[in-house]
Amino acid sequence: MTFYKPKSGQDVFTAGRPISRRTFVTGAAAGGLLLASGLPARTAAARGSVQAEALRGNSFDLGIGYREVNFTGKPRQATVVNGGLPGPVLRWKQGETVTLRVTNSLARDSSIHWHGIILPANMDGVPGFSFPGIRPGETFTYRFPVTQSGTYWYHSHSGFQEQTGLYGALIIDPIEPEPFSYDRDYVVVLSDWSDTKPERIFSNLKKLGHYYNFKQRTFGDFARQVPDQGWGNTIQDRAMWWQMRMSDRDISDVTGYTYTFLTNGMTPDDNWTGLFKRGEKVRLRFINAAAMTIFDVRIPGLKMTVVAADGQNVEPVSIEEFRIGVAETYDVIVEPEAGAYTIFSQAIDRSGYARGTLAEQPGMTAEVPQFDPAVILGHADMGMAMDHDMGGMDHSGMNHGEPNKPAVDHSAHGGMPMSADMPAGRAALGRAGMGSNAPIVHPETEQGFQVNMQAQSPRDQLTNPGIGLAGNGRRVLTYADLRNLNNTPDPREPEREIQLHLTGNMSRYIWSMDGIRFSDAEPLPLKLNERIRITLVNDTMMNHPIHLHGMWSDLETGDPDHIPRKHTILVQPGSKISYLVTPDMPGDWAYHCHLLYHMMGMFRRVRVSED
């Protein structure tokens, strides 16, 4: 086993001592992140922390097993890596080949998927995709070259094991020096824990789609709306929801009703704390490892400079808040001055929050902010035309008389000059980086009991930070802010475009793409090394974080020369979004919504081949 010596100044990881899969770290002794950098070990020995110790090198022994955890006062069984929840931070070095021997001690099959890592298909860790899964008692050896750098994560791709703790952070140090400087480096893994077994959560949702939603619209809201807006407007506003039979409070399927939200495996009360000294720059590597929860993250009193998204460097952008979809990562740099600051990560539906603290001294805390107001969906979130109001109050131009009119959004790209050498057939595709010009066409397969909404005029939401965030008085990150720090890696124009619709029926709790669930779907063929645009149309009222395995999703944020690379794209309700893909690894790849209880249906097999 090879280890790197910690570099002075910017490293707070333990020089990775190999942990046998039998020597599981127990409760309070864990918290490897805080052990180094000269900090007293007791700062890490916080109550409730069950995070495994960090590991570094190019050869690892990982053990998947059970352990007892207790986040709510009730002991429960978790599925974990090396005894930790989260599992150990794995620190690799760009340019090396890593070997990971993963032994499964569970009573059922397991797997580890390296999320966002570009590797051969049979190393990707998705059972049924060039990989059989790891049977109980067996060891699978992953070995692949590490070609990229940045912040990523790993998690089980078997059953619902992710929900019960099988995830951890993955950090790859670059060969070249980082283009930004910092004095401290912390991983902030956000996640959601339930004492209810995930299988039960799923069957509860199947039987009653709003089982976990206790923030539904009430008669009181109606009674307040009438004096505010008058009977006419109120009835007009409600009529569409009545007709659609949709709820404007349908934000999260699974909520704080059952979830305890964790920061690095610690509850808000246990308050994970990262220390700093005055004048230091602190790098925070946020990873959303939740099963179902999208978080809105801010640190009151601090500006955050976003330097990387999904592991890839972006042009630094200074913000006060960002929304992080499930499976996304953001690296930010903060410069705390004195005292303590709360890392406040509220669930998108405001039903709970994860909390951590940056502090000069152990034990120091800062005020925990109040929740922002409950998020309410508007007509635009259904993909209805001409509703330019985010709060759902202005419905003057609502167009619901023409349900089948295809809508073409020329607002952003219509006037873009095409480059002269572009073949005529491709000109219609629109320039790489500027998104799609294609009309929205709802496939016939969307007709049926499995789909209860279609976005007729889905809008480009790149400049919208997301439902409930616009106009909150803070500078919130948007996808339009993301520009690759380097030149666009593959500057080719797209050769073709495919449009995929994210579909579902919340009430029946059925999820699909183009109205076809994974079990009934044909593989999606991609040609090796072609340059293809994928346009996603969200025909639901929920945000869906869509993850394409094995190849980058080059998100078209409006600057053709600096297209940022992502592995997970958060698609806003009733919206459309486009990205470019270069399938450069042959094989079968998973492509799916990363909300755990949507995933099994809203999933496609992508087949990359020579012809």
Partner: protein, 238 residues
């Protein structure tokens, strides 16, 4: 006795298997599930004294296709006043509606009646839970039922649910006290508290009224054609 015990425990094991996590061992997005639910399981203060009334169903199936049992009835100390059972096949036919076809048996009040049933159940615009069913029985009997209910959320825990049901019969059935035409309506207003999603105690009012020939038949027997009842009960499912 022993055999019965075994049967009961085997049945319980099957129910646990189908309603619980084990049903999902396959990791499918479309698992086989069993749901048992009673929207009404209540005490009623009727004109004939205390009564136990219920309206519930059980289904076994997947997203599209389900085997569905429905039951409703009312018992007093002396007798089973009403007992109805339906065995149906239910199929999702649109985003909001299921088609249901099958059999209905009326075991009470007096003479047993069998019907073929066809109907739809689902969520109508305005969030009205709706049931519309037509029945065809022996000897050219016909009947229809329409039922609607609305859950008004006073808060996210406290729900006021008005419901309304009409029954229509094509032919007189004097043995069972039924005259042709719209025979009766049942209107309910129940105030529910969501203790848990699966456990909802409630109190309320139920008003039954008979019309036309049905009313005349009831009054000829000395009964009340209209009865306002206090109810208290539990809505539950698993």
């Amino acid at each position: 006795m022993n055999i019965n015990k075994h049967r009961v425990s085997a049945l319980m094991a099957i129910i646990a298997l189908l309603t619980g996590p084990a049903a999902l061992a396959s990791g499918s997005d479309n698992p086989l599930l069993l749901m048992v639910s009673f929207d009404e399981f209540e005490w009623r203060d009727t004109a004939d004294g205390d009564a136990l009334a219920w309206r519930g169903e059980a289904w076994l199936g997947k997203d599209r296709d389900k085997a569905l049992l429905k039951t409703r009835g009312e018992m007093t100390d002396d007798a089973t006043e009403e007992f109805e059972l339906q065995a149906l096949y239910a199929r999702a036919i649109s985003a909001w509606w299921d088609l249901q076809v099958g059999w209905r048996g009326d075991f009470q009040p007096v003479e047993r009646r069998n019907w073929a049933a066809i109907g739809v159940e689902g969520l109508a615009p305005g969030f009205i839970e709706t049931e519309l069913t037509a029945f065809v029985g022996e000897s050219g009997r016909t009947s229809a039922r329409i039922r609607g209910a609305y859950e008004m959320l006073l808060t996210n825990r406290l729900v006021l649910e008005p419901e309304l049901e009409f029954n229509w019969f094509g032919k007189d059935d004097p043995a069972n006290g039924i005259g042709s035409g719209v025979s009766n309506l049942e209107a309910g207003l129940r105030l529910q508290y969501i203790f848990r999603r699966e456990l909802v105690p409630y109190v309320g009012l139920s008003w039954e009224k008979a019309f036309g020939d049905t009313r005349r038949l009831i009054e000829a027997e000395g009964g009340d054609a209209s009865d306002l009842q206090l109810v208290a009960g539990l809505r539950f499912w698993f």
